[in-house]
């Protein structure tokens, strides 16, 4: 394989014109549902909820806003599942390949963060809400990365 170099100068007449687009170039321009945007919105909400709760520790934080955030994120997740189920010509193989590994990585990461809360005596309903938010965080990150990869892969 020749290592990539600076782009070749535009060929003149008779030299064959610009290089042809790759056969899968249509994947980069097709319209897809906003699954990634909704997943990012979920990440924004759980990060906000996490900051609200962490700012009150080690005392017991109010759970009203975090619980509302969890409910909204649950609804966003269901909408995303519905949107994904309706996508035609989608590389599910790539989606699940990436999702498996990202989910494993973020299970480790969120597990460590959850452990840090447990170890520092966060118990009861605040711990449950934090764990739900961490799970939403892991699922949302997995969704946005897997969807962004799979949308550009051939079905």
């Amino acid at each position: 394989m020749t290592a990539p170099t600076a782009p070749a100068p535009a060929p003149g007449p008779g030299l064959g014109g610009p290089p042809p687009p790759p056969p899968h170039a249509w994947l980069a321009t097709r319209r897809m549902p906003p699954v990634d945007l909704l997943a990012v919105l979920s990440i924004v909400l759980v990060v906000t909820g996490g900051i609200l709760m962490a700012s009150k520790f080690p005392h017991r934080p109010s759970l009203t806003a975090p619980v509302a955030i969890c409910a909204v994120c649950g609804a966003i997740f269901l909408v995303n599942v519905a949107l994904l189920a309706r996508v035609r010509e989608f590389s599910w193989r790539s989606f699940w390949l990436v999702a498996r590994w990202v989910a494993l990585a973020y299970a480790v990461i969120t597990g460590l963060i959850a452990y840090s809360f447990v170890h520092n005596h966060i118990t009861g309903s605040p711990l449950v809400v934090i764990c739900i938010m961490l799970a939403i965080f892991a699922v949302s990150v997995t969704t946005v990365i897997s969807f962004t990869v799979a949308r550009f892969q051939e079905p």
Partner: protein, 209 residues
Amino acid sequence: MTDSTQVITAPEPGAGPPPGAGPAAPLVTRIVPLVGLPIVAVILVGLVLSMANDWRWGLDFFHVAGGGLWTAIDLFVGLIIGPILGRLSIPARAEFSARFMPKMLLIMPTLVVCTLAAGFQLAITMGNLEPASPNHDRLIVSFVIVGIMAIIALGILEPANVAVLFEMRKPQPNGELIGRLMKRFVYTAGITGALQIVTLIIMTRVATP
């Protein structure tokens, strides 16, 4: 530099592919460098042991060393590498990314989790999160900044990086798509670099009695 659709694995300027040559080998064959996984595992085990035993030096080490490296890498990539990358041709960007991004996929999440988990435990044990502490408000501001950086990194940067790596595994990567995705990297790396400077100011202020 051109953003038009082109094949990344371009041969010598002006030369056509050798007669009878098959499709070019992909730039990226492995997304995650497996050799780095045992190193990550050792670091995370050390973090858990430090947390479980409330080992103050270990917590300080993981928070200060992890945070320092996180900040330094973000600043270096955002303010030095990012602008250089933005001026390179798409094939040059692709070749750089093919070697750079897989390593970043392991390094950055490891540094972030070490910094945050050790930092939270330090904040609790040192009383910096108590509402009466003079550092309480500074820590909340730093939480917000870390939150914004996490959203940028996980919602914009990381998905684009992984998508670029997958595109480069194809025999004929789409140069236009790679250029478009890498623009995200160039723009957002500068923002996270600026936020890291604010983090540096806050953290050095917190550490000053």
